[in-house]
């Protein structure tokens, strides 16, 4: 399998003081096949958004490489980067703050077309904007509206239209539905899946909600404090979650079945400090199965069959 996007031991450390570093992304290897969706799941502060920005080249990596279609995006020339950028897009989490309130829907959707001189003249540009609005299910009467006149679901459709404007191949969806109501959330998820089928898009889908990612992903990566702790095909992960962190994430989702939480399965504590973490498993402090050897050295992702990788000494 050759992926359209591949990272090799990708690391991003932010300097937060004299000789102190925040390990936002710490040695992540992912690969996404063309037309597939990779779900990236984890709590706030686990580095999932940083990973999304790294693979797009919006942040520079501390070390490691990202290859897009075989091109190393950190060391390629400006022109190559520009052509990669056209093919890679991002949909942001919050449709309230990611759209310029002073731009009309037409201006918002045509902006990427103007920036990249994708259309020959105004008429062509207008036609393309109308076509995009139709694709994402926005009525044409909104073309001169401003974001504040629209609700969250419609705003997120503008975000999707902007991302699709240049006919990209790869889109990072950074929590695209977490600011939306359930019924609207389902509309946007269906839209993203339809777009994928029609245009053969490849997605990296970042979310903290496992139930959302289940429907849209082929493969899922679970991240904890900058590291990938488990990676498996979507069905396999839900059927057979191995890492204690993944198990805890799954049991924390409130199910629409009357009854109280199973308290014994709940996670204690919160995500610990990502600044200069101690060696060993970063989840050990909150883990029910932690053993002395968990904090001795780095724990590698190992395959336990079925393309199911887990970084946990329980499965050694």
């Amino acid at each position: 399998m050759s992926g359209i996007l591949k990272t090799v031991d990708l690391k991003k450390y932010f300097k937060v003081g004299r000789n102190r570093f925040l390990h936002a992304v710490d040695g992540v290897n992912i690969e996404i096949a063309e037309g597939a969706t990779l779900g990236v799941v984890g709590e706030s502060g686990c580095g999932k958004s940083t990973l999304g920005r790294l693979v797009l080249g919006l942040l520079s990596a501390t070390s490691g490489e990202t290859y897009y279609d075989g091109v190393n995006i950190y060391s390629c020339g400006r022109e190559e980067m520009a052509s990669c950028r056209r093919n890679m897009q991002i949909i942001f989490q919050d449709p309230y703050s990611s759209l310029n309130p002073r731009m009309s829907v037409y201006e918002l959707i045509s902006e990427p077309l103007v920036m990249n001189r994708a259309c020959e003249n105004r008429k062509e540009r207008l036609a393309r904007v109308v076509e995009l609005m139709e694709t994402v299910g926005l009525a044409q009467r909104f073309i001169n509206s401003y974001p504040h006149e629209m609700d969250g679901g419609r705003r997120q459709r503008i975000g999707v239209a902007r991302a699709l404007a240049l006919k990209p191949q790869f889109i990072v969806c950074d929590e695209p539905v977490s600011a939306l109501d359930v019924s609207i959330q389902a509309q946007i998820l269906n839209l993203l899946m339809d777009m994928q089928e029609e245009m053969k898009l490849t997605y990296m889908f970042i979310t903290h909600d496992l139930s959302v990612v289940k429907h849209i992903s082929n493969e899922i990566v679970v991240m904890y404090l900058g590291q990938c702790v488990e990676r498996a095909e979507s069905k396999e992960l839900f059927k057979n979650p191995k890492h204690p962190y993944t198990q805890a994430l799954l049991s924390a989702i409130p199910q629409p079945i009357p009854g109280r939480f199973q308290r014994d399965k709940l996670l204690r504590g919160e995500v610990s400090d990502p600044i200069d973490p101690e060696p060993g498993c970063r989840f050990a402090k909150r883990c029910r199965h932690s053993m002395p050897k968990c904090s001795t050295g780095p724990i590698k992702l190992k395959e336990g069959g079925n393309k199911h990788f887990v970084a946990c000494l329980l499965y050694d």
């Binding site: 709590e43 706030s44 609700d151 969250g152 679901g153 109501d181 359930v182 019924s183 609207i184 959330q185 389902a186 509309q187 998820l189 269906n190 899946m193 903290h208 909600d209 496992l210 139930s211 959302v212 289940k214 429907h215 069905k235 839900f238 805890a248 994430l249 799954l250 049991s251 924390a252 989702i253 409130p254 199910q255 629409p256 079945i257 009357p258 009854g259 109280r260 939480f261 308290r263 709940l266 996670l267 919160e270 995500v271």
Partner: protein, 341 residues
């Protein structure tokens, strides 16, 4: 006659035990663009130690209901044209502002959605908890006694009292929400209104906060109104559920009526179908088509009929039929007797 309203007490047996009872509550916002009808005649009551979930999408009128109970609607635009809010039998709408100040925080308190903005960034968390105790210090307790109560409250929500001199930015989101809960419970209110208390939190932290609220409710005997759009949260915390749509309660019942019983309002059915199901493998989700109506221009008849997959001519005007089976109430013409679909 059959459709007088939702949950109208028939012989007053509900009122005796009820901590709070809403009767025909309406709330509107008078804006330059016209009157926004946010809440349109809702009725429900909460008994002691009971938790009721108000469920609905953005714009369903959940938060307006909560703000009306505390009389916190924006002064210039918000108005309550009709209805009664009975707290232990007394109508809160007839209270003066000074009387309301003594009720807010002491008898009824509220947890707001976003812990990041609910706390004052330039006061220590200890001082913010103390503030609520000082305002409602009816027993004239000394400063030292109040300070020790702050310590007690912090340990109650699982934060070390040693951190009370710290500022909100030094705490994580989950910890901030615990502090907001401590402030809300400081005076041991009889009723707690939680407005989307965990929406801004991660799932794992959400579970911790919900369990904490559950324990505190059992310990202190507080009644609770849980406002949320997450049916999972409702199933795990509530005794009764009211499904709201466009300012009305369209379905009301015990948590088992709503989550298990086969008869439902089409909107409730739609909400359930829209949540991604963890157990089954379906590729496509089933959203409810269309959008919530504009509250300044509500449709006639059943408010849900423009989006309803089962609508028929009768739904266009008049109040929908009230179906009622042992406390489970649905406002929908589908259940009219003799009606055959």
């Amino acid at each position: 006659m059959e459709n007088q309203g939702f949950n109208q007490p028939k012989n007053g047996q509900d009122t005796a035990r009820a901590v709070l009872e809403l009767r025909g509550l309406e709330a509107v916002y008078e804006t330059d663009d016209g009157i926004v009808r946010a809440v349109n005649g809702i009725n429900f009551s909460i008994a002691e130690r009971e938790t009721i979930g108000l469920v609905g999408e953005t714009g369903a009128g959940k938060t307006t209901t909560a703000l009306s109970i505390l009389r916190l609607l924006p002064e210039r635009t918000g108005r309550i044209p009709s209805g009664q809010i009975l707290y232990k039998g007394q109508d809160l709408l007839k209270k003066s502002e000074d009387e309301m100040r003594l009720i807010r925080g002491a008898c009824i308190s509220m947890i707001f959605q976003d812990p990041m903005t609910a706390l004052n960034p330039i006061l220590t968390v200890g001082d913010q908890i103390l503030e609520s105790l000082e305002v409602h210090n009816a027993e004239n307790r000394t400063h030292g006694e109040l300070e020790s109560r702050v310590d007690e409250l912090l340990s109650l929500v699982g934060i070390s009292p040693g951190r009370k001199k710290e500022y909100p930015h030094q705490f994580s989101g989950g910890m901030k929400q615990r502090i907001v809960i401590a402030i809300a419970l400081a005076c041991e209110p009889l009723l707690l209104i939680a407005d989307e208390p965990t929406t801004a939190l991660d799932v794992t932290i959400q579970a911790q906060v919900l369990v904490l609220m559950d324990e505190l409710r059992d310990k202190l005997g507080t009644s609770m109104i849980m406002i949320t759009h997450d049916l999972g949260v409702v199933a795990n915390t509530c005794d009764k559920v009211a499904i709201m749509y466009a300012g009305e309660i369209v379905e009301y019942g015990s948590v088992h009526d709503i989550f298990e019983n086969g008869t439902h309002h089409p909107y409730t059915t739609g909400l359930f179908q829209a949540i991604p199901n963890m157990k089954e493998d379906v590729r496509r989700l089933h959203p409810i088509e269309g959008l919530m109506p504009d509250p300044s221009d509500l449709p006639s008849g059943c408010k849900f009929h423009p989006r309803c997959p089962k609508r028929f001519d009768e739904c266009n005007d008049g109040r929908p039929y009230l179906y009622e089976r042992g406390g489970h109430r649905i406002f929908c013409n589908l259940f009219r007797e003799g009606f055959d679909s």
